[in-house]
């Protein structure tokens, strides 16, 4: 009997236990910190607002990642506060991952003191397509089930960010990533346009099509700005053309008001830099005929995203529970007290 305990049939179990022990905190030495030299740079994947994104291969694990480089100048008061805060947030998120948020493998940075330039390289997981490309390559009519699958995952990722007090601020089909197995992952959160357009060496015009009116009017805003973007993206999923394709910053608000009507009364953002009478009074048009593929619940969801007043617009938590998605919100609020083990004699 006792021979059998460590006999052949238990070997698998033993190996599994040994592996578990190794993975525990007290296990062997940690792998050395990665540097840029560990990555072989491949083709450019895209040109973001803040720099290029490349496919890179990690020579240590042989896997491919996306490398995004941000180059910024130090301002009069050192490294911009926004950059510091956002990278600190991303760094924290490397410890708490969510299946619908692109995970950050590591952040590397170099400082060129002589030119007063700071370069930050983010190494992230790589996905097959962005939503923009994905939508160009699927049949024109999207089944509601598939749309729901995409939107539900977007909402789960967004709810995770919001519950960690992170507002994306720049959601758009280009930074929503889709894999072959139709998993959706939000990317580019944290480094918002609002914060970096003055400090990043940006050569690329950033699209304003998905931006909420209160942001365009530089009024106060909260996490529901991301829900506005979700509304615009839902329209695009069903209709394959952008909802508010404003040609430039000045025209973007006209584009919105022409379709939804100029906001009146309390719907006009209170701290807006522009007075309401700078805009003509548009009455708005019905969008329902554009989105014939939508079920009534989907349409209700879509409309709740595009409510002018941020206080009345649907939040991400409410969106998960909406009749259209019927998803259970998962509480992800980090707990303060944890189970610890004393291990420091």
């Amino acid at each position: 009997m006792s021979e059998n305990l460590y006999g052949e049939e238990n070997r698998g179990e033993m190996v599994r236990l040994q592996k578990m022990m190794k993975n525990m905190n007290c296990g062997g030495p940690r792998p050395a910190a990665l540097t840029l030299k560990d990555f072989k740079v491949g083709e450019a994947l895209g040109k973001g607002a803040y720099g290029h994104v490349y496919r890179v291969r990690n020579m240590q694990d042989g896997k491919d990642y996306a490398l995004k480089q941000i180059v910024m100048s130090a301002s009069r008061d050192g490294v911009p506060q926004s950059v510091i805060r956002e990278i600190a947030v991303m760094k924290r998120l490397t410890r708490q991952t969510h299946p619908n948020v692109v995970s950050l493998r590591t952040v590397l940075h170099t400082v060129d003191t002589s030119r007063n330039i700071i370069k930050i390289a983010m190494i992230m997981e790589i996905c097959d397509w962005d939503l923009h490309t994905f939508l160009q390559n699927v049949p024109k009519v999207i089944p509601e089930k598939q749309a729901k699958h995409l939107i539900g995952q977007m909402m789960k990722g967004l709810d995770f960010l919001h519950s960690h007090a992170i507002i994306h601020r720049d959601l758009k089909p280009q930074n929503i990533l889709v894999n072959r197995d139709q998993t959706v992952k939000l990317a580019d959160f944290g480094l918002s346009k609002k914060y970096t357009n003055t400090s990043a060496f940006t050569t690329c015009v950033v699209t304003l099509w998905y931006r909420a009116p209160e942001v365009l009017l530089q009024s106060y805003y909260n996490s529901t700005v991301d829900m506005w973007s979700i509304g615009c993206i839902i329209y695009e999923i069903y209709n394959r053309v952008p909802l508010f394709p404003g040609p430039d910053e000045a025209q973007q608000l006209h584009e919105i008001f022409k379709k939804l009507g100029t906001p009146i009364g309390t719907d006009w953002p209170k701290q807006s830099v522009l007075a309401k009478d700078t805009f003509p009074h548009y009455t708005g048009i019905s969008l329902t005929s554009d989105v014939t593929g939508m079920s009534p619940t989907a349409l209700d969801f879509f409309k709740r995203c595009l409510i002018y007043d941020p206080a009345r617009r649907m939040g991400s938590r409410a969106a998960l529970g909406h009749e259209f998605l019927k998803l259970k919100p998962v509480s992800v609020k980090p707990r303060v007290l944890r189970q610890l083990r004393f291990n420091n004699l």
Binding site: D77, V79, I84, K91, L340, N344
Partner: protein
């Protein structure tokens, strides 16, 4: 050094015996004094700028202690690192202070220490970049206060006045613990436990009934013997003892050991 770590930012107590400063010739007590002086600068300059112990000064102190686990006092001047930590913590915790205000406060509070820095603003901004690099942008630091507030509600056998009193005393202990190396050897939650335990002991309060496990923390931190909790408390008590006779920076001058 890596094998002397419990986790990325928590070191084994033994690591304090072979810090970069010790390896470069400072003895352990001298290093602890240097640490206290640096923290004093953070605290006083921070106070002058209306920074609070929670979070800005507390976070800056953690940066400071972590930094000197990677570099020696002989290589990097603690007065500059202190200001850099304070400046950076302000940004991270969203109470940003202008670099020139930080430097002006430092010059006016400690003219002698900062006299040799005519371009202090540039030096502090350079320090900020050095810190970002050394701290690996891992700047969101937990402090013991949050855990302390959670524990406040967990003693049904104590009167409201007693627990409020104990928490207040523990809060002060946490404020002062930044002068010790607790934050780099002990998780914030464990610091909260130890210093709340110290507050109970100092006041003679019974946190749990006689027939219960006196180690009220054992549900959260397993295998933490009372002697070891007391050891953590002694770090703070030692600090009070050491500074009672020799207040930190009382002459507004930094202590200098040996010729570097």
């Amino acid at each position: 050094m890596t094998d002397q770590k419990v986790s990325e930012w928590i070191w084994h107590v033994d690591a304090l015996k072979s810090t970069p400063s010790v390896l470069a010739g400072l003895n352990k007590d001298q290093e602890l004094l240097y640490r206290r002086e640096g923290i004093k600068l953070i605290s006083e300059v921070g106070n002058a700028l209306n920074c609070k112990p929670r979070p800005t000064i507390g976070v800056a102190a953690v940066y400071f202690h972590r930094f000197y686990m990677m570099h020696g006092f002989q290589t990097f001047a603690r007065e500059l690192i202190a200001l850099g930590c304070l400046f950076l913590a302000g940004k991270v915790e969203d109470f940003p202070k202008k670099c020139k205000d930080v430097c002006a406060a430092a010059h006016s509070l400690y003219p002698e220490i900062f006299a040799k820095y005519p371009n202090l603003v540039d030096d502090v901004m350079g320090t900020e970049r050095l810190l970002l690099h050394c701290l690996k942008f891992d700047l969101q630091v937990g402090l013991p206060y949050d855990a302390l507030m959670e524990y406040k509600t967990m003693f049904p056998d104590m009167s409201r006045d007693q627990i409020t009193d104990a928490v207040q005393i523990a809060w002060t202990f946490i404020n002062d613990s930044i002068y010790t190396t607790l934050s780099i050897t002990t998780e914030p939650q464990m610091i909260a436990i130890a210093l709340l335990h110290l507050a109970f002991t100092v006041k003679g309060y019974q946190p749990v009934q006689q027939n219960m496990d006196p180690c009220w923390w054992s549900a959260d931190v397993s295998n933490w013997p009372p002697q070891s909790v007391d050891k953590a408390c002694h770090l703070v008590l030692d600090f009070y003892a050491a500074t009672k006779e020799h207040p930190i920076l009382s002459a507004k001058k930094l202590t200098v050991y040996g010729a570097f």
